[in-house]
Symmetry: C3
Subunit: 433 residues, 3 copies
């Protein structure tokens, strides 16, 4: 089976779970991911714990939630679609008129057929979500609003995995797991990370990799509050992977500084492989990159997306379902991230070991018969050598000479073997630009 299909099928298994910031849904999802990558550690942090400016919220448990009309018909039933109950809703058991009921119903007025995704994590209230059409069809009468939920001191969970390489320089791969049944803006990220880890485990890694699967915002704040110093010392590039399952676009959202190694490698790889990719400014951010790039945190982290959150009509609605993402979409995203990682693995400061051009002919790297046009054919090699002065890393040279890193890798291998290239002190490659 193609990886894309496996990824898609796994997303399908995760889809029905009712996730929130905390609780069983997150734990179930993390456990299912651990079945794929057993090395994943699942961590717990108690409710009430202070994490920087925030506090870990209580767990939320919901068993049932619906509205019942006089005839006993259930409307907005949580068990039919977990978007029907506003996330983190308090409990209710009350008979009300239509007029009163309407105050507790959330719709997306501009999209009459979808159930919107709404939460109220930091103020206690309840509500039901439904399509505008469904709401507008409600007739006067008495309705029973019922939500059986509770909030209690529990834990916040997240998943973590460190894959060591020969160097302790780290690449961060971060994604989130806290949305209920949504496909692109939720499951595509954890699924991509899972398959990347399977591939990374088989790679002869120069770099180390830190994989973080957290509830959005509070999860990354929590993770940073426990790991910031280490991450600041080691992280050379990081990526928030979100909305990576559809086929409509390739997108990249800049880090706050805009010129970190993470930015450069993403621009380089997408620039060659998908030159019509969309660049979003950091001003258009909205996921965990907000925490990783915050002042004082200052990690070099950007986002990789297909259709970016907030930019596609199905975003944060029931229409972001399994029909929106595809096996091909997931697999193409996997391939982009593999290229990104290979570019980072080979991203060194190379320096040519002789003065003037080396004589490539005697090493079989240059045609021995010189005629019009011949110089052009070996440009890839000669241009790589011409800029290998130890001042620009391989990604910079790739961008400068217009040759994808993946085409340069075999040449780099040959030139290193021939003794024509040396690798400069690795510390330089830590400079995040």
């Amino acid at each position: 089976m193609q990886p894309g299909q496996e990824m898609y099928d796994f997303a399908g298994k995760l889809f029905p779970i009712g996730r929130s910031l905390t609780g069983e849904g997150v734990r179930d999802s993390l456990n299912m991911i651990r079945e794929q990558i057993p090395e994943l550690a699942i961590k717990s942090v108690p409710s009430g714990t202070r994490v920087f400016d925030w506090t870990i919220p209580q767990e939320w448990e919901i068993r049932e939630g619906y509205i019942e009309d006089e005839a006993g018909n259930r409307i907005a039933d949580y068990h039919k679609n977990n978007l029907h109950v506003m996330g983190y809703s308090t409990a209710v058991d009350k008979y009300v008129s239509l007029e009163e009921l309407l105050q507790y119903i959330k719709v997306e007025e501009s999209q009459p057929e979808v159930i919107p995704y709404v939460t109220s994590y930091y103020a206690p209230r309840f509500a039901f979500c439904m399509s505008k059409n469904e709401r507008d069809a409600l007739k006067p009468g008495t309705y029973h609003m019922f939500i059986d939920s509770r909030h209690f001191d529990g834990v916040l969970n997240y998943g973590e995995l460190l894959l060591p390489g020969r160097s302790d320089k780290e690449v961060l791969l971060s994604t989130y797991i806290c949305h209920p049944s949504m496909a692109n803006n939720e499951l595509s990220g954890p699924v991509l990370v899972t398959w990347l880890v399977k591939w990374l485990k088989s790679l002869d890694r120069r770099l180390s990799y830190r994989i973080v699967i957290v509830p959005e915002t509070i999860g990354s704040v929590t993770y940073l509050s426990r790991n910031l110093e280490q991450m600041k010392q080691k992280t050379i590039a990081g990526f928030v992977l979100t909305c990576v399952g559809d086929e409509r676009a390739y997108s990249y959202l800049e880090s706050r500084k805009g010129n970190t190694l993470a930015d450069r490698v993403m621009q380089n790889v997408l620039g060659f492989a998908h030159p019509d990719y969309i660049t979003y400014s950091y001003l258009e951010r909205g996921s965990d990159e907000r925490q990783y790039n915050a002042p004082g945190v200052d990690l070099p982290v950007c986002d990789f997306c297909r259709s970016k959150y907030g930019e596609y009509p199905e975003y944060h609605t029931s229409a972001d379902d399994m029909t929106l993402i595809t096996p091909q979409g997931l697999e193409d995203s996997l391939n982009v991230m593999k290229q990104v990682i290979m570019a980072l693995e080979y991203n060194r400061f190379y320096r040519v070991t002789c003065l003037c051009e080396p004589q490539l002919g005697k090493r079989g790297l240059y045609p021995t018969e010189s005629r019009k046009g011949i110089y052009h054919e070996v440009k890839k090699i000669t241009n790589l050598i011409a800029y290998a002065d130890g001042t620009e890393d391989l990604i910079q040279i790739s961008s400068r000479i217009g040759v994808p890193v993946e085409e340069l890798i075999p040449i780099v291998d040959k030139l290193c073997e021939a003794g024509l290239f040396e690798i400069l002190d690795d510390n330089k490659s830590n400079t995040p630009q």
Copy 2:
């Protein structure tokens, strides 16, 4: 009465005075300004004083000046329009033929109806100025050229005012007073400065303000020769205010370095308030910014204009009269400069005091119900915080996040009150870029 109308009326009172580099006209004008702002000091520097590469010229006094034809008709009478006698003209009392007379008549050939403004400050000669039409209508005959003027050792005068703030960092506001009856290219500047001072006096000033009202070129050279060291130590931004009374354009002329704080605040304020403003390169300079920016002087000074000197047809002619400037034009210029000053007053290096994003919800700065589109609504706050890492000043952040400083000021106040923002050492804001 609206400030614009008051400003216009005051310009009207100054209009008839016959000003030159030195003399009664300048003194009368400065005295009238001192009636508006009693703190203004009027300084005197004796003729012959060496100021850098220049020497203070003699005073020029003119009592009468005209041409009389055989029938006793007076033409080009100084008392009708003080542009009729070339500025700084020597005395003459001579009967001449039309042919000879024509050698002493200056017209603007391309604008047949206006009297041009001509001076000869640094070579002794005399001439009359009139419209091309008037000159062309002169008939053969004998003419009496008469100018009752004298040059004598006196003083050069200028006005100066220092308004102290909590910091001794200074903002320079400079304008000139040496042209006879011209409105936009003369009176609009001193009038704007006068009303700015009235407003500044009531402001709780962080910064100090240095107000300089001088005859153009020789006056700013003189002023700098006496105040350069202090100004170099203290000046963070300066503005030459000239041609600020009409309604046709907003213009900004770059400082020599082009990226000083003066440039940045002007670009920022005009960019938001009047995005169609015109930028002139320093190569197109022509007023006192030439002295403030000269090599070795190196003050961060740019020009603010409406229709810039040299760029509008009435420039340096009798058509630059009270119909060219308007109450609205003057008041709008006043408002721009107030915004410039407020932006400078708040231009600090702010740093957010917590790691990761602060939890704005618990402080009432973020909606507690999260749904599609909500993040966009609070972008102004979150983007301000995201860049408040102490490396960019408020003006830079304003430009970066696309929000005018005046909209950021109340947010800055709130965040400072909430303890979420601290202000970094003020020394940094001295860096003029």
Copy 3:
């Protein structure tokens, strides 16, 4: 006679000589150049000498070379056109069928009428070159392939000339001499250098000049292996002069760093004199700039060309003959390079000696009568002074204020004489950007 005609005639004399990397052809050519500039030194380096990663090849001598058909007709006769025998061909004396012959014939398929220029310097083989038309007309039969050539230990020759100036800072002028009968891509370069030297000898030189005439690639590698340290210490700018004889274009190929003094002066001079000039990236290089700019060599060297090598259809074919270059083309190139050299001679860091603007009027540099438009007329002077703060060199100021250096030179002379300009420590002008 015009210099262009003299240059053209000299090129015509050099044209028939059969040059290669080494051997009599190069020696004869260098000797003819020495007749024009007797100071030229002709150096020899033995075959087998190691030069960086390369080895000096053996000399190649060819006395005859042709194909003879059964009727005794000679085809591809070296004595008719020295392109007919592939450069550096081994000897052969063999009767073959047409079928076998065709394996040893090189044509340019896309240009049926020209003989291509082909060499095999670093693998021993032989071949004949002819037009596609000529080859296609060959009839079946027996052919006699005959080349009387030999390879033997000899020397590689090059020409060198150092013209000292008051400063030991050097300008490098490099061209190559190793192609057989081709006009633009061979002789135009040495001829231009020869006439530049004649002019330089009569110039009161501030700078020193290093003239290098070498076989391409191996020659510049050899030259650098013997002179690198000196050149790194002294060279402020260098130019490879090649393909400078036609009239179709002005071209400039960037140095590797792209912003050296060599780049800046070339951009400046061509930008004013021939604003439609073509800029080629260093990625499109192909001559000795490859060695001068190599990592570790790092000399500030760019190319000046008319129609650049590889970019015109006659390149590396028999069509690159004396009809391609013209007296006018050569002379215009000479004039560009004279301007480049004058710009370098005057390229200092000037600083104005007074604070504020100097009073130009009293020195006769400014009109004493001031009227509308007058300031514009003296802009060339005032703008030069405004930027003469010792931080930008004359070429930078020229580009900034939009006035060619050759127009600034007389003003600089006047300002220096008037004591208004001082020249800052020459060490600064060594900084190659």
